[in-house]
């Protein structure tokens, strides 16, 4: 993956940059090689790059002054929450600083009457739910990394989780942010109300992968916890039966709180790892969770049971208590480390397809990994068509890392070709950047990417992520497109 060419002149100023930023954040600049090393990569461990320096501000004012200084001095900035991005969103740049937001770790206000909480971006996802649990409330988005991932990172990536079908990804659960632009301007978008005036800039910023601004505060929607949650474990003799069952559940007007699926290799790996009681003689396993009042949950599970029985379900168990429900989930939630036990390395792919294409795309995934001489285990957020093939490889064998990456790219292109998209919840980052042209036309990408000019005209915030090229903002006030011709055919590619 080619990153933007580092600016040697900026790199030569490393000591001066560190000194200037230390004057703004006196106890929060790391500039020595050993100190910056832990910030060299995020959850996409294939990529590593040390930044010029790491800056750890505590206040919005410091963030504003750091960005304004970097803006004036042409220094690139990569914001980082907990560094759990699976797409390389927080990968540093050789000629840039990392702006670590971990010290923004306070929950500022919880307003139960308006059902929202104001939190700093370094607060972890799970900490929000834990802080409001005593009042019977929780924060709905629950990415697998929720014990570690930060709310700021969740906003940057529009993070999802296993309950998105019913409760949505981060964006529908985000009411407002305080945002600092690259030039240091501090803005408020949205707030404790349900609607902002003017353009939906909050919606644009959520999921913008750190390219538009730095979030220094977030107002999130909180919900009363459902009175009851119960899960069904359903086994099927083929993935096709299981996916027909998913379609039939949805077509019956049921929106389960969770609807997850695993294929045989994933089932066996998970069962070996956590002994969740999964049947190992089935080809597909589904976890269907219902939540709400006891009456609602009983009704929904009864209807799902009827549908499953009509779709060749060979194994069916309903959780009888909370411990068993959590055990059902334990296998699914541990699927990634479980695969990590049977393969020395695995590469988690993230694409979304129209659900009806599941069987066909799974066949393609098998063929693709076989062609590269690798193995795969599949877990899916079946309700919304979000696939996570885990491509297994051995990084110590020459060529296998590249083979895994190539297989991942082919899988994502197959998702797009099936009418789907490159990423359902992990983001584009550096990982899928060069695949964007497979999903979008040059004009589509231009219409999106030039929005960066409104927020960061010098292209200093997280460049090299998300888009294969960035527009030259100075030329943006003129009309450039004629007859579908590329506006900037001569633009350098990263």
């Amino acid at each position: 993956m080619k990153m933007p060419d580092p600016d040697a002149a900026v790199m030569a100023r490393q000591a001066e940059i560190a000194a200037a930023l230390s004057a703004i954040v006196p106890d929060g600049v790391i500039a020595d090689a050993t100190g910056v090393s832990p910030y060299g990569s995020d959850g996409l461990v294939m990529y590593r790059q040390s930044p010029l320096a790491v800056v750890l501000p505590r206040t919005t004012s410091q963030v504003s002054r750091v960005l304004a200084w970097c803006h004036a001095n042409g220094v690139k900035v990569v914001a980082r929450g907990s560094g759990t991005s699976l797409s390389g969103g927080a990968l540093p740049l050789a000629d840039g600083i990392v702006l670590g937001m971990a010290r923004f770790n306070r929950i500022l206000n919880v307003d139960y009457d308006n059902r929202c909480a104001v939190v700093q971006p370094g607060v972890t996802n799970l900490a929000v739910s834990q802080a409001i649990a005593h009042k019977g409330f929780y924060y709905a988005p629950d990415p697998s990394s929720q014990i570690a991932c930060s709310i700021g990172g969740n906003v940057a990536e529009n993070a999802g989780g296993v309950h998105c079908l019913k409760y949505g990804t981060t964006s529908p659960n985000l009411l407002g942010v305080e945002l600092v632009l690259m030039d240091g301007t501090v803005l408020r978008l949205g707030g404790p109300g349900q609607e902002q005036a003017g353009y939906d800039l909050l919606g644009l910023v959520c999921g913008s992968e750190g390219l538009l601004g730095v979030v220094t505060e977030a107002t999130v929607r909180i919900l009363p916890k459902p009175a009851t949650q119960r899960a069904l474990l359903l086994g099927f003799p083929s993935v096709a039966y299981a996916s027909d069952c998913v379609a039939a559940i949805i077509a019956a007007g049921i929106i389960p709180a969770g609807l997850e699926m695993m294929d045989a290799p994933a089932i066996r790996a998970a069962e070996d790892f956590v002994q969740a009681g999964y049947p190992t003689d089935v080809e597909a396993l589904m976890i269907a969770e219902a939540d709400g009042s006891a009456a609602e949950v009983d009704d929904q599970l009864a209807r799902i049971t009827t549908i499953a029985n009509a779709h060749n379900c060979t194994h069916l168990r309903a959780s009888t208590d909370e411990a068993q429900r959590l055990l059902f989930w334990a296998g699914r939630k541990a699927a990634f480390p479980a695969v990590g036990r049977i393969a020395s390395d695995y590469y988690c792919v993230d694409g979304t397809i129209p659900r009806r294409q599941l069987g066909a795309v799974l066949g393609q995934i098998s063929a693709i990994v076989a062609r590269h001489g690798l193995g795969v285990a599949n877990v899916f957020h079946a309700g919304d068509g979000n696939l996570h093939p885990l491509v297994m490889y051995d990084a110590s064998v020459p060529g296998q890392t590249e083979a895994a990456e190539a297989a991942g790219a082919e899988i994502l292109m197959a998702c797009v070709d099936a009418g789907g998209v490159l990423t359902g919840e992990h983001g584009v980052g550096v990982e899928k950047r060069d695949l964007m042209e497979h999903q979008f036309s040059a004009i589509d990408l231009e219409v999106q990417s030039r929005l960066k000019c409104a927020f960061d005209a010098r292209g200093l915030l997280n460049p090299g992520k998300l888009f294969p090229t960035l527009s030259r903002c100075a030329e943006m006030n003129h009309m450039h497109v004629h007859g579908g011709r590329l506006p900037f055919p001569e633009l350098p590619r990263f």
Binding site: S293, D299, T423
Partner: protein, 378 residues
């Protein structure tokens, strides 16, 4: 002067030509939302000639359709499969009396109905769209799947952008099952303060509530579920809330249709202000209103409708909302003759500048519905 393109290529050509000549365009569907419509421009851009096929896939929860599709047609189509637009787009007919408009108009206006706090806003249900920018570029954004974070979220940005950034031609929506059964609890509440308290208490518990509104003397709480489960949810809600009367089935549906379209009974000559604000600031707004103003609350108090007699055109509702809710609330006049009070208040300067830059990137010549851009005419 009016343009009426028959194809998206023709539309793009017309926009390029208008941009080249600096001729502004009033972008509209059937013109059913004049109060929040494009305003004055050099020429009208009538989009009703842009047809296309409708693809509804109930099992995938997806609906893709031309922006020009009539809104009432969409709702009938979905109802046939037991589905709905969960954000309950308010029909413009009750406010302006010019028909139900198009789905393109519903998305471009971005208004959401009573289910907004529970099922999400209009912007949360727009998964993908195609259109033409003010530069005449034909583009597609988002996708035709339920879960997608690929690229900048243009569907959200363009929802509610009032035709000032791009002209929408095709829209993909998330559609959801229509709950088969519903009932509404009516609870006495003679002040906004009491009403907001009751609604907040009701929502402290997860109990199937999908609507919480107030008018004059009573709070209305809608509960939706399957017919098998509804009685238990209703009993549980009644057990923990103050005494209430109950309406069910079609009577409940009719009530919420009326609430969604602003109670149907806004008097013909009343001025209508729509004011989103934090729910617990609604009582402060109520206290600031003159005696001849009428107040309706939706979204558990987070949406205030202020209805004024025609003679109160000079009441500065922006100022009252700012006094009640600071920068967390805002107001827009949807209906009422022009007065010294603008329909929308200016945005805070930093936000206004950013919004103007966003507008200029989509529409550098400033030709798309310029009077409707945030902050008004450029």
């Amino acid at each position: 002067m009016a343009y009426r393109p028959a194809t998206i290529e023709e539309l793009a050509e017309m926009i390029r030509e208008a941009a080249a000549h600096g001729r502004s365009l009033a972008v509209s569907g059937t013109g059913s939302r004049p109060g929040i419509g494009p305003g004055a421009a050099d020429a009208d851009l009538d989009l009703t000639g842009l047809g296309g096929s409708i693809d509804h896939d109930p099992g995938e929860l997806l609906l893709t359709l031309p922006a020009s599709t009539p809104l009432d047609h969409v709702e009938k189509l979905l109802a046939q499969s037991g589905q709905c637009l969960a954000f309950e787009p308010p029909s413009p007919d009750a406010i302006w009396g010019l028909g139900h408009g198009t789905i393109g108009g519903a998305v471009a206006s971005g208004l959401s109905g009573p289910r907004r706090p529970f099922a999400g806003a209009c912007r949360d249900h727009v998964l993908g769209l195609s259109g033409v920018t003010g530069r005449g570029e034909i583009f597609t954004a988002g996708g035709k799947v339920l879960k997608n974070v690929t690229g900048f979220d243009l569907p959200r940005l363009l929802t509610g952008s009032r035709g000032t950034l791009a002209v929408l031609t095709q829209i993909t929506l998330k559609v959801l099952p229509l709950a088969p059964a519903q009932a509404t609890l009516l609870l006495p509440a003679d002040t906004a303060a009491k009403a907001v308290r009751i609604m907040a208490d009701a929502l402290m518990v997860d109990g199937g509530i999908t609507g919480a509104a107030w008018s004059e003397s009573e709070v209305q709480l809608r509960i939706e579920s399957s017919s098998a489960v509804l009685p238990a949810l209703v009993d549980a809600a009644r057990a923990r809330l103050p005494a209430s009367t109950l309406i069910e089935g079609d009577a409940s549906r009719a009530l919420w249709a009326a609430i969604a379209s602003l109670y149907d009974h806004a008097h013909a000559d009343e001025i209508i202000w729509r004011c989103p604000l934090p729910a617990n600031r609604a009582p402060a707004l109520a206290a600031l209103l003159p005696p001849d103003a009428r107040l309706r609350l939706d979204w558990a108090g987070a949406l205030a409708w202020v209805l004024l007699p025609a003679g109160a055109a000079d009441l500065d509702v922006h100022g009252l909302v700012a006094q009640a809710a600071g920068r967390d609330g805002h107001a827009e006049r949807l209906r009422g003759a022009a007065s010294a009070i603008p329909a929308r208040a200016p945005l805070e300067p930093g936000l206004a500048a950013l919004s103007a830059r966003v507008k200029a990137l989509f529409d550098p010549a400033g030709i798309l519905s310029p009077a409707a851009a945030p902050g008004g005419a450029a």
